[in-house]
């Protein structure tokens, strides 16, 4: 090797050009592929983006639970997806058996129907959130708390055990039954299409070609999610319990010395995370109207990936990660191949981890120097 070659080589090594070139080629190939197809039909592309947003917001609510619990006890709570399933079932029973969503209309007949339905739907969501919070606190008390001083893997195995238990116990004929159950929404679906302005799409009518369709489910999902996110942010940033949570996440023994009830804080964290999952359960079942005992596994996994992608332990990270996951799924389903979409999601995750080893918003690991 002569000197000039060596400098070129050294420069390549120093600037990490081989790796960067490799990634750039990969990125170009994907942009070429997806972009080429997107330009063919822009309306289809926008439709896919909107579908992705709907999915992403639901994932965000589940991902927050993962990220909060992980941030505070460093436990990958595999049972979280099943808490989500429980929330969906609670709302199913509330709507189908007890007609909870109708109470404002029935008690106050003078109320405008829109407000009545909104309050009714919100109370269904609230019921699910409370039930999930109670369930999660029970699980925490029975299965995780006794293991707080044991190796972390023990708690992980119990989490898997709890997850299996919730699924298979739920599948028993006298609990949730093993059936696929059609979910009755607490409100009627209204659809609009966007083409030269926003028009309402009548039931049974066909949307004109080149239009982008969205429904009130999308609006409700976005509104409820943002409401809950703002609320969560307020709790974590502005309240005393939020401060205690952040302190506990940072350093448990010291927090205890400062007079923080660490067990209580952990319990509250589980409850808050689970209540968000409960809300997600209702929204998910409303968007994709079917409930079944294993419905939590896949969204749970996706949300978990989203949380890791954004940097597990980080609340904005979980949110951004979930939105990316939603888009990645729909784009890969729309333009690459649906059966491959899990592979695409995980490839993105691994690539992101290679560039940022603790996720997009993750802090550098404090575990090991």
């Amino acid at each position: 090797m002569n000197d000039e070659q060596l400098t070129v080589l050294q420069r390549m090594i120093k600037g990490k050009w081989i790796g960067k070139g490799f990634l750039a080629l990969l990125a170009l190939a994907i942009i070429w592929w997806v972009g080429g197809k997107a330009i063919q039909s822009p309306s289809l592309f926008f439709q896919q983006i909107i579908n992705g947003i709907q999915l992403g917001f639901v994932y965000a609510l589940i991902a927050l639970g993962y990220t909060m619990v992980y941030g505070i006890v460093r436990l990958i709570n595999f049972a979280h997806g099943d808490v989500f399933m429980f929330g969906a079932f609670v709302s199913f029973f509330a709507v189908s058996l007890f007609q909870l969503h109708l109470w404002p209309v029935q008690t106050f007949p003078s109320l405008p129907p829109l407000i009545g339905i909104v309050i009714g739907t919100l109370s269904v969501i609230a019921l699910s959130m409370v039930s999930c919070a109670i369930l999660a606190m029970t699980i925490e008390r029975i299965a995780y708390k006794p293991l707080r001083d044991a190796p972390r893997i023990s708690a992980l195995i119990t989490a898997i055990g709890v997850s299996f238990f919730l699924e298979y116990f739920g599948a028993l004929p006298f609990v949730f039954t093993p059936n696929f159950i059609t979910y009755k929404r607490p409100f009627e679906i209204v659809t609009w299409y966007v083409k030269d302005g926003i028009h309402r799409l009548e039931a049974g009518a066909e949307a004109p070609p080149g239009s982008v369709i969205f429904s009130n489910v999308l609006i409700i999902i976005i509104l409820v999610s943002i409401l809950l996110l703002v609320g969560l942010n307020y709790v974590v940033r502005r309240t005393k319990i939020g401060k205690a949570m952040r302190a506990t996440a940072y350093d448990k023994p010291t927090s205890r010395l400062m007079g923080i009830n660490v067990d209580g804080v952990i319990s509250t964290t589980f409850a808050i995370g689970a209540s968000l999952a409960g809300a997600a359960g209702v929204l998910y079942a409303t968007a994709y109207p079917q409930v079944v005992f294993w419905m939590g596994i896949i969204p749970g996994l996706k949300a978990f990936v989203a949380a890791v992608l954004g940097g597990i332990g980080s609340i904005p990270g979980a949110f951004v990660g979930a939105l990316i996951m939603g888009q990645a799924e729909v784009i890969s389903a729309g333009y690459i191949s649906t059966p491959m979409r899990d592979a695409v999601a995980f490839t993105i995750l691994i690539l992101v981890l290679l560039i940022r080893p603790t996720g997009i918003f993750g802090e550098p690991e404090r575990e090991k120097a």
């Binding site: 960067k20 460093r74 898997i160 996440a249 597990i312 290679l354």
Partner: protein
């Protein structure tokens, strides 16, 4: 030569048990139902021993074991399928040469990378990928040339013998293929922190499963039939085969862990910084444990594929990838005998005794009982079912891991590690 009592006792018990099972099977006292479960137990032992090496001894939280198991299973099955159904050695020769040449390529690129000082991991990874792709292509081409002579040579042997030879090679090659894939995958991923490593390996398992779902369309292996399931694999895995492999794996692990190399692996689990300070190449030890553990998974996969003679991608889905982890934790982290006992118990109880003991009408309760059992066991015995029990022969001569007892010691450890997990 003097053999000490512990060693002798261990071998007598082990070989005695293996022969006892074989005799009972031959006499028909142990029905095929139990025989299959014992085979599954042995296969799970090998997978879990591999995971125990990675997680229990080396401290890398891996959920990718099941993906390597799948790779080994499908690779080995394809070789024997082509031998029995298509009557040629195409699978064998192509896999053999691909494994050989990729191995050579990995070695050469590793040499190259170690010379280029200051190369960032991503660039190194890109070089590896390019090297492996070229080697694999040459391997396929060269392998295709050798098909006919090897087919003729093998056909000259008695059919049963040639099948056993092809089978043995297929299982070993499945293991080596899994090892090479794990080396390639481990390069970038092993640098991640513990939980992130776990998640990346979980992702690997899922990607493998998705690829197998589309193996006939995307990968171009018609005979694997994608998500329809692969049929026509000869059922040649007998109890003696799995027992033989299990014994070999036990000897290998035992000798490894008794060597200085094994102590280096364990030192990485105990404290990476201290290990580094002692002059141990931490990255190399991690890679070695990961590759060897994955090799065992691939090997077990090859054995598994020839038990039922049928493979389906669903067998390799990510929920089942927790099974080896559960077994390892139950047997006790870093315990060889515990892992083996836990694997057999797991197979015999879950599919065997629970099936027989649960009364009619309660078939679905099997999986309600199982997680409850998991929960109760973890709460009562978080150190594992057999609680670190080890045969004297297999026991490593090592100081006990340091466990802080008082609050004071705990905060000391805490201050050193700055890790919030010590609480």
């Amino acid at each position: 030569m003097k053999i000490d009592r512990q060693t002798l006792g261990f071998w007598i018990v082990l070989l005695g048990l293996i022969i006892l099972v074989q005799v009972l099977v031959s006499l028909g006292i142990l029905s095929p139902f139990w025989e299959t479960l014992l085979k599954i137990g042995a296969v799970m032992s090998i997978v879990s021993l591999g995971l125990n090496l990675i997680y229990g001894f080396n401290g890398q939280f891996s959920l990718g074991q099941w993906g390597f198991y799948a790779i080994g299973a499908y690779a080995a099955a394809d070789v024997t399928y082509r031998w029995t159904q298509m009557k040629n050695a195409s699978g064998l020769m192509i896999l053999l040469l691909v494994v050989l040449l990729v191995g050579v390529a990995l070695y050469l690129v590793a040499r190259l990378v170690s010379r280029l000082r200051g190369l960032d991991p991503l660039s190194a990874f890109a070089l590896y990928i390019i090297g492996v792709l070229i080697a694999a292509y040459i391997g396929v081409q060269l392998g295709s040339l050798l098909i006919n002579p090897v087919t003729q040579a093998l056909s000259a042997l008695p059919p049963n013998l040639s099948l056993q030879i092809v089978y043995l090679l297929a299982v070993l090659l499945g293991g080596f293929l899994a090892a090479e894939v794990s080396y390639l995958f481990g390069l970038p991923v092993l640098t991640l922190g513990s939980d992130y490593f776990g998640i990346a390996t979980l992702g690997f398992t899922i990607i493998v499963k998705v690829l197998l779902d589309n193996s006939d369309t995307l990968l171009g292996f018609e005979e694997m039939k994608g998500a329809r399931g692969m049929v026509g694999i000869p059922k040649v895995t007998s109890w003696l085969w799995v027992a033989l492999f299990l014994v070999l794996v036990i000897i290998m692990l035992r000798n490894l862990l008794h060597s200085s190399h094994g102590r280096a692996i364990i030192s990485v689990r105990e404290d990476e910084i201290a290990a580094k300070a002692m002059g141990i190449d931490v990255g190399q030890q991690k890679t070695f444990a990961f590759v060897l553990g994955s090799f065992l998974a691939g090997l077990a996969g090859g054995l598994y594929a020839h038990i039922n003679g049928f493979l389906h991608p669903n067998t390799f889905n990510f929920i089942k990838s927790f099974d080896p982890m559960i077994i390892v934790v139950f047997g006790g982290l870093g315990s060889i005998s515990g892992t083996i006992m836990a694997a057999f118990t797991w197979a015999l109880v879950l599919e065997g005794f629970l099936r027989i003991l649960l009364p009619a009408g309660f078939e679905t309760w099997r999986f309600v009982v199982y997680p409850l059992f998991l929960l109760v066991m973890m709460l009562l015995r978080p150190q594992g079912l057999f609680g670190g029990f080890e045969f004297p022969y297999l026991r490593q001569v090592l100081p006990k891991p340091y466990t802080p007892k008082t609050q004071e010691q705990l905060s000391l450890v805490h201050a050193v590690e700055e890790a919030p997990e010590g609480d």
